[in-house]
Subunit: 368 residues, 2 copies
């Protein structure tokens, strides 16, 4: 993620005394124009990668830029072009692994394309969230926003941002392209949840618990639908007592599992809607002396590093969060730069893949 | 972390058709001056919280700002004041929990004080890191940087940034104020590591393994020194075979533990330099059928959520990472705003506190 920069004329490591602050002389666009013997407008065209410049002129300007170690003043460019060269990442998610993956994906795109990244975690449930985001973009002149779930899935917010002229791309959970006029990257949670449930059924499990993620996220009903469809296709009746509401958290996984363990006819497998929930289930099993996977199979979702580091390691669905976020940022930048960013201006779907690890195994009769 | 904004005259949720983009009319500083019947300069003084404005005048201007829903154009303010209203957070750390804690702490300070936050993870080992950071600050006009370890601990980088007129605050590991002329927040790792080791000794452990963190971080030798001092004070000879080099990672904890298990005279306790390492030790113990804490006590460091969610939960040192980061950001902002930020311009120290959980217990003879 590191960018290389020209080094001619830099201040070196000179062992300056602690605390002393030196003045910096910054070359201007006028210096470049003078050195290359062209107009200011021509220098500007070269800097902005416009196509209307002859090759030999472009080379001359670029050489002048390198020799002078000229770095365009982004704030000045911001004003002239009325857009900023930073984008904002907006999210509301308590899971550090997920957030870091999204940040890394967006950062990779930003670095490739010359943008800075401002992060803006917020509370997605507040009523004036739309005002907050609009003010953020206006005040700091962000070029656009990458919106992660769940705010990416609040349609009144989306319409409001569009009505205020704010560019954005959404990361959403959907089994197919929503085709609603708003750019997005969509993740097919439903299909992956079907695969996980089918895997458990094929191992012989008939009583499979399901722990919901937070209701504000569309991924929650999407993952439940996958579970529900798989049961239906294999003629296993859905037992509502096996389905527990909750949030995308370790604690809710722990609590949900304990409720399932208290049932007379316990499940032999539990599908937690993400790896954090599944980790909570695993801890609850250990606390109750239940052997995983011999007495209880556990599956999660997301393939966070968490899932690989637990004992046993968790069966899950690999979500490629970083790739998804990177693609969303490139899609946004494609809307912002005349030269594009290498991705087509169409919505793209991602399908998480089943990853089988040690936490799921053939069904056995549970110890009573 | 959410800021409230005035709402008079906002565009509402009007169910605009998908995809339509509307023009935005933004009130200017001139509108505010006219409405409050004051000069532009007076409005500017009120916005910048300068003290030279009479209370009744300030009230009149603030009322005009609220009624017009005026939001200062940050990019324009950037140019006039020659500083930006965003700070940069620079770090190189693979541990999501730590990174998120640092981000949250800095964000809390930024939100209180009206700054945006740009994140800049980078590779701290590259030779031209100094150029990269200097270019970053110049190009995006960041007001300053919060530097996390390990780059905060590279003195030639620190001197270089200062020589280039870049404002920063460092978060470093140190047992006392380094008093070297560069602002910092320092964390006393040594003392906390002493406490953890002492706790193990008091439980009866004589053979205590130690797994190092990454050598680039000063916290690594600082934590080792605490371990070493405690052994010395309790007259326990330091056995070099019990001290294993490595990195701040789960995998290195796993590998380091396996090396210790292979010793003829195994340790009855292992101190991992952070919770990720300790989690790796715990997984290795389980993989080897070693009961924790009955046969092996394990301690970590940092009190990451990780340490509470493992089974058994880890004894550790509570580092208050978020508070430390927040204080570092407030310290930086105090240098940037004429009105300060509420913290004094002195270096402040933090002392992580021992947290005893279920992974440490009295020493027993290990099964052979």
């Amino acid at each position: 993620m590191r960018r290389r920069h020209p080094r001619a004329g830099d201040v070196g490591y000179d062992g300056a005394k602690p605390g002393r602050q030196a003045q910096v002389n910054r070359p201007t666009i006028k210096d470049v124009a003078r050195r290359a013997n062209v107009s200011l407008k021509t220098v500007s065209r070269v800097i902005n990668n416009e196509t209307s410049v002859r090759d030999d002129t472009r080379d001359r300007v670029q050489r002048a830029i390198d020799e002078l170690n000229y770095a365009p003043d982004q704030a000045a460019r911001n004003l002239r072009s009325a857009t900023s060269h930073a984008i904002g990442l907006v999210y509301d998610n308590p899971n550090p692994y997920y957030v870091i993956s999204v940040q890394n994906g967006v950062l990779a795109a930003c670095h490739d394309q010359g943008f800075g990244l401002q992060i803006h975690p917020c509370d997605s449930t507040v009523p004036d969230l739309a005002d907050e985001l609009r003010d953020l973009v206006q005040r700091t002149r962000l070029a656009g926003l990458v919106l992660a779930p769940p705010m990416s899935e609040r349609m009144e917010l989306i319409r409001y941002l569009a009505a205020n002229g704010i560019r954005f791309v959404r990361i959403i959970s959907a089994a197919e392209d929503p085709d609603d006029g708003y750019p997005c990257v969509y993740v097919d949670d439903r299909d992956a949840a079907y695969d996980i449930t089918e895997h458990l059924i094929q191992l012989g499990h008939q009583r499979i618990g399901f722990l919901w993620g937070g209701a504000a996220h569309r991924s929650s009903p999407e993952r439940f639908k996958g579970y529900e469809s798989a049961l239906k296709d294999y003629d296993i009746p859905l037992d509502k007592k096996l389905v527990i509401p909750g949030d995308y958290s370790f604690d809710d996984g722990f609590r949900g599992a304990r409720r399932l363990f208290a049932l007379r006819d316990r499940p032999t497998a539990i599908f937690g809607s993400n790896d954090e929930i599944a980790a909570g289930v695993l801890a609850a099993a250990k606390a109750n002396g239940i052997d995983v996977p011999y007495e209880l199979s556990i599956a999660g979702f997301e393939d966070s590093p968490f899932s690989k580091q637990s004992w046993p390691a968790l069966t899950t669905a690999k979500q490629a969060t970083e790739d998804i976020a990177r693609h969303a940022a490139l899609r946004l930048i494609a809307e912002l730069k005349p030269s594009g960013s290498g991705v087509a201006p169409v919505n793209r779907g991602f399908s998480p893949q089943l990853v089988i690890r040690d936490s799921t195994a053939r069904a056995h009769k549970p110890a009573t």
